[in-house]
Each structure stands twice: as structure tokens, then as C-alpha cells.
Amino acid sequence: MELKVNQDNCLGCGVCVVACPVNVSISPEVEGGHGSKTEEVIMMVENGVIKLFSPEKCNKCGTCQVFCPTDAIWLE
């Protein structure tokens, strides 16, 4: 299984960035809704859309997909 994104669908709301447990453990400040200070995280909103930085760190828990309002991020 692989983490996929569709930037055309993305609203740039950042819910996935905050919800992702791995993101939070890598960069705790994202939990408070702040942008990550490091590009080590799995995904981040950049220029208004979601972008994958380190998808290989994904633990395939599916939380991002559960929370995304537009199905712009998913596991396949």
C-alpha cells in the first residue's frame, strides 16, 4: 500500500497534516495547527496544497484518509 495525494482535489486545509500521528511525533508543533518547522514530516501544505515530503515514513494507519474532506489523500 502506498500513500497518494491528488493536489487538484486538495483544499489546503491541513487537517491531514495535523491528524497524522507520525507527523505529530516527528514535529510536535503541527498538533497545535502550526506549520511544521522541518521538512522531515510525511506531508505539509505548501503554496495552498498538500505535498508529500517523506511518504516512506507513513505507517499506513489511514487517519489522513479518514479526516480528509475531499478525498485528496488516500492509501492505495
Binding site: M1, C61, T63
Partner: protein
């Protein structure tokens, strides 16, 4: 040469080896709880656990486990180790769970029909929808301790009794020419609301005492009968039925004893553990008041089977399941005993 044959059907599969006897390992995905014990017990590392969280949460059409048929030696350790019997090894069509030389968890779930009052509490509580309670209610008319009669001479057909009757047993026709009042004695429960409300005192009651026993109730007529069914395939022996049973008719023995620990620091409340838990043990707690936070994950240890599915699925390793006892029938084989004991942590 001797080779294993794998047959795949949707998300289920079986692996077969036919020689001296026929060994067949079958896997049922809808029964699997994704705990990963099979992968840990396999002596030849032939079993791989899928991305359980993603599979469960995204409805992906993928089996929760995969077995490499070239590595599998059909020893049956996964079959014995599976706490929910999603894997089953048969030798000449007899399940190893029925062969005495193989160890077996002493887990069970039973409902004693003699004691059961058929309240259906277990049916509602069962997290796997494995219980069906069917019941026959007593004949209501046999539980009514009297009868009413209406004095047509006195009755003015006002309809007050009809409107009030909770059992809809009275019908009034207000035709001025030909008024009528009828009592459905099968529906009447002899509550006497009509009698008390009648402005004309036109309703007479024939009760137990004044009818010289005609309306005595036979206790045998008041009994609800029925039967209960536990679908062994779906039941995970979690103990919910025993916990909610008001008359101790349900008895459950779990395969493991243990403890579930959540590291509050690490937990990021993604909810994957709640989604995977086969026993409805985990939940998000409700806030106790404005501005008050409680534990991140609430857990009802009483119904935990210590399967470890939550610990496996947690993306940030915030959950630890400690198994302190494994309940199984003894085996003479040291390797099998060692393997089952190794499930303790």
C-alpha cells in the same frame, strides 16, 4: 515432488499438501481480527501481516494476512495460535482443534438456555453480532386477570373509554340511530382505566376474586421461552455477554489474560486502535465538562482479549498489550508448548 497448492477465493484462501495424508490450511478474512499472532508464531516466517489499519479503515479489498505457500510447511501453529479461528488446519478433513495431540485454547462462550431469560442484552452488547436470541412470548390474553362488561342501558356512547384504552380494545360507533360499543376481549388487558373514567359508571368488571378463580393466572402461561445461538465463527470470547447478562446465564472464558497500557504522551488520538478493536474495548472518552480533558483513549479492560491488534496497528507505538497467562490444553510437544508460552510478554 511434494508441493503446496494455494487456492485463492476473494480475500480467503487455502493451502493444501496431499501426500501421506491431506493437510489443508484455510483462512477466512471476515473472521480475522488482524491481531498478527499468526505472523509471530509461524516457525518458517511464511505469514505476513498486511497494513491492517489501512485495510480496515479504507475498505480496501485486500486480505489482512498473506501466507507464502512456498515457505508454509502446514504445521498448524497459526491455526492453534489464532484466538478467533480465522485459520484452520485440517488433516484428512479433521480440524486440528479436534485432534487431542494438538494444544487448544481453553476459551469458550456459552449461554445456558435453562437460566436465560431471553432479555437480549447480550445480543445488543455483542461487538461481533455473534449472538442471536429468539424468543416466544406468552399469550397475552392468558395473563389478564379479569374481564369488563358494558351495560348498554347506561352507556351513552361518549367514546371516552375508547380514547383512553391503552390496548385499543374498545370500539364505539356514535351513529345516533344505532349506536354501538364493542369490547375486544382478546386485546383487553383489564387495566380498568375505562371503568375509572366512565362518566356514567356503565362499565362493570369481573375480577379474579369475584369470578371464583375463573381468571386465575397459571404461572406456566407467563413464561417466555426461547433459545440462544452463538455463532462460533464470529465470537471472539470477549465477555461482553457475560458482563451484561442479568442472570449469569452467559459464561465466557478468554484465551489470554493480560493488561492493556496506553502511553498518553505518545498517543495522538488517531483512533486506529478503536477501529480495529474486535471487542469494543477502546473508545474516545467524553469530556466531563467545559474545558476539561480526560485520558486520550478510554478502555474497558474487562472485555479485552489481549489479542494485541491495537498495539500492532498503533502508528506511534503508544499501546502495549501485556499477556500474563495463556490458557490452553497441555501438549507433550516441547516446541509447541514453548511457542504458546512465548505469547506471554
Amino acid at each position: 515432488m511434494i508441493a503446496n497448492i494455494k487456492q485463492v477465493e476473494d480475500k480467503d484462501f487455502n493451502i493444501k499438501r496431499s501426500a501421506e495424508d491431506e493437510r489443508k490450511l484455510s483462512y477466512k478474512d471476515h473472521v480475522c481480527i488482524g491481531c498478527g499472532i499468526c505472523a509471530k508464531t509461524c516457525p518458517v516466517e511464511a505469514i505476513e501481516l498486511g497494513n491492517i489499519a489501512a485495510i480496515v479503515r479504507t475498505d480496501a479489498n485486500i486480505s489482512k494476512i498473506n501466507i507464502n505457500e512456498e515457505k508454509c510447511v502446514l504445521c498448524g501453529m497459526c491455526s492453534v495460535g489464532c484466538p478467533v479461528d480465522a485459520l484452520d488446519l485440517t488433516i484428512d478433513n479433521v480440524s486440528v482443534s479436534e485432534l487431542e495431540m494438538y494444544p487448544k485454547y481453553t476459551s469458550s462462550a456459552t449461554i445456558d438456555d435453562e437460566t436465560c431469560i431471553y432479555c437480549k442484552a447480550c445480543e445488543v452488547a455483542c461487538p461481533r453480532e455473534a449472538i442471536t436470541v429468539s424468543r416466544d412470548l406468552p399469550d397475552r390474553s392468558k395473563l389478564v386477570s379479569g374481564e369488563i362488561e358494558i351495560d348498554d342501558e347506561t352507556c351513552v356512547y361518549c367514546g371516552i373509554c375508547e380514547e383512553l384504552c391503552p390496548a385499543e380494545a374498545i370500539y364505539v360507533t356514535k351513529d345516533p340511530e344505532n349506536p354501538e360499543i364493542v369490547v375486544d376481549t382478546d386485546a383487553c388487558v383489564y387495566c380498568l382505566v375505562c371503568k375509572r373514567a366512565c362518566p356514567m359508571d356503565a362499565i362493570m368488571a369481573a375480577c379474579r376474586s369475584c369470578s371464583y378463580g375463573e381468571y386465575d393466572i397459571d404461572p406456566a402461561d407467563a413464561v417466555t421461552t426461547g433459545n440462544t445461538f452463538i455463532d462460533d465463527e464470529l465470537c471472539v470470547r470477549c465477555g461482553w455477554c457475560e458482563g451484561v447478562c442479568p442472570v449469569d446465564a452467559a459464561k465466557v472464558q478468554k484465551p489470554f489474560e493480560g493488561e492493556l497500557l496506553v502511553d498518553e504522551e505518545k498517543c495522538s488520538t488517531c483512533g486506529a486502535c478503536i477501529d480495529i478493536c474486535p471487542c469494543d474495548v477502546l473508545s474516545f472518552p467524553e469530556s466531563t465538562g467545559f474545558g476539561q480533558t480526560s485520558a486520550k483513549i478510554a478502555r474497558d479492560q474487562e472485555y479485552c482479549i489481549s489479542c494485541g491488534a491495537c498495539a500492532n496497528i498503533c502508528p506511534v507505538e503508544a499501546i502495549e498489550v501485556k499477556r500474563t497467562a495463556i490458557n490452553y490444553t497441555p501438549t507433550k510437544s516441547k516446541s509447541w508448548t514453548d511457542k504458546l508460552e512465548s505469547l506471554k510478554s
